[in-house]
């Protein structure tokens, strides 16, 4: 692995910037995401910073089963994010539709619209699970970068 790509990987893994987007969630997973950022769980210690715009974000934290209204917006936000980008589905309904499965206005989960890198189940996903999911995602990035470098 060249020095430059090593530095890039290091930087990418040490400070992922996240964007939170509610795609029709009941709000519980959203407040748990904020709780994960708050002092008790403090996901910032892994370098995670919450950003307000997709153009600054590396990771998209999505909660909710994707309503039909939000579907196109979700796709647009995903397209606005710079590469490489990762999507985390937070909560059972973001993973599969959960309790809302079969409702006329929802699709069944984030991965019906955009590719998802990590799934965090739970209704709502507890902050501890969210921290765990994000760390696992970062670790898997580290591994895949190493493998790519041989």
């Amino acid at each position: 692995m060249s020095l430059v790509s090593k530095i890039v990987t290091w930087a990418r893994i040490k400070s992922p910037w996240v964007l939170h987007f509610n795609t029709g969630a009941c709000n519980a997973c959203d407040i748990e995401i904020i709780a994960a950022l708050a002092p008790r769980f403090d996901i910032e210690r892994f370098g995670v910073v919450l950003k307000g715009t997709p153009r600054h974000a590396d990771v998209l934290l999505c909660s909710g089963p994707v309503t039909r209204q939000i579907k196109d917006r979700l796709r647009r936000i995903y397209e606005q994010m710079p590469d490489p980008k990762f999507v985390v589905a937070v909560g059972t309904c973001a993973c599969s539709g959960g309790v809302f499965k079969g409702c006329y206005n929802v699709t069944a989960g984030i991965d019906t619209v955009i590719p998802v890198s990590a799934y965090i189940p739970g209704c709502p996903a507890s902050p501890a699970a969210i921290v765990d999911g994000c760390v696992k995602l970062l670790m898997s990035l580290e591994k895949s970068e190493e493998q790519a470098a041989g």
């Binding site: 009941c26 709000n27 519980a28 708050a38 002092p39 715009t53 809302f100 006329y104 929802v106 709502p124």
Partner: protein
Amino acid sequence: MVSKSRSENVQIPIGPQHPALKEPESFLITLQGERITKSGVRLGYNHRGIEKACEQRTYIQAMYLIERVCGICSHSHSTAFVQAVEEVAGLQIPRRASYIRTLIGELERVHSHLLWLGVAGHEIGFDTLLMYTWRDREVVMDLLALLTGNRVNYGINTFGGVRRDVDAAQMEQVLKGVDILEERTKYYITVATDEVTLINRLSNVGKLAHDDAVRLGAVGPTARAAGVARDIRKDDPYAAYADLDFNVVTATQADVYGRTLVRVGELLESCKMIRQIIKNMPDGPVTVKAPRKVQAGEAFSRYEAPRGEDVHYVRGNGSDKPERVKVRAPTMANVQAVAHMLQDGYLADVPIVIAAIDPCFSCTDRLIGVARESGGRGIMTWEQARQAGIEWHRARGIDFTRLNETFRCGEPR
């Protein structure tokens, strides 16, 4: 994303994804310089079709779905729904169950108001407050997890009572937690009354006078901050509230600062109520047997959620599935007032004014399908629906058209 129309009017769309909004909702603000001349809101990004889905689920399944109308006031929705169904089924729940429901309800109010205080701090750039309140909020989250098994979406209600009892050790824990919360609340009251920056930033922002609050049908802390002493817990007591001694907190400021004072005041009242509930917790069973099928009939249930009056309507037809469920969440009532509050305000105040009603759009997003009397179904535009509403009321001698001057809904974009 700024488009210019005529003269110097500038239109700014805010949302559905915007750093100042925690939920997907879209506002269209028209500006003249820094001043807001017109504002509109577009709802519906969070509409999942829960009311319809309830009709395809059994009562028990619908209860868990209703709980997920909103994750912040989940207990409010599930209690309002359960109360309505119990009324249709003619069930009388044990006193201990109603005390436990009230206990969870008040703990939920504490968590919700602390959450709001933090978000409000964040919106005005006071992130220290956000971190403080969210740290303290973990105390009440732990209590909720202890009592119900889950931090959010407690799932404690069931038809005929509650699913879990509380034991003496848990009550002891709750009392300990309440002591901490009360002490912290007193600190926030000091912050809210002494901190000059906070007072100056929030005063005279998002004005909603008493008469306007009544006219626009505001509910909850938004109305109480304008001096409207409306509280379902007092006016139409449910669960155990008739036995409790508490005050309805109001303020006279009628602005965002007033709403802050009302909410921190309510935190103290909630602590007081929790102590009373624990002290007077009656003995006995926590459930009565509920039938699987609910007889035909309809009921209307009101609940004072942290954000205001939550109304549920349930109609049963003798089967194990509800025939119709209708939810009117508090934000739906308050969102009308937002346009009024924003009028002639500054663009920079938009986030805090919106946040000040403590909006919960996942509660609010509803859709109305229209079945015409002449047969056939259709979808009405907002204008048509409003016109139809005006005419319906006028035919019955009520005229709401004065509302038109203040509230205009944004055109679909």
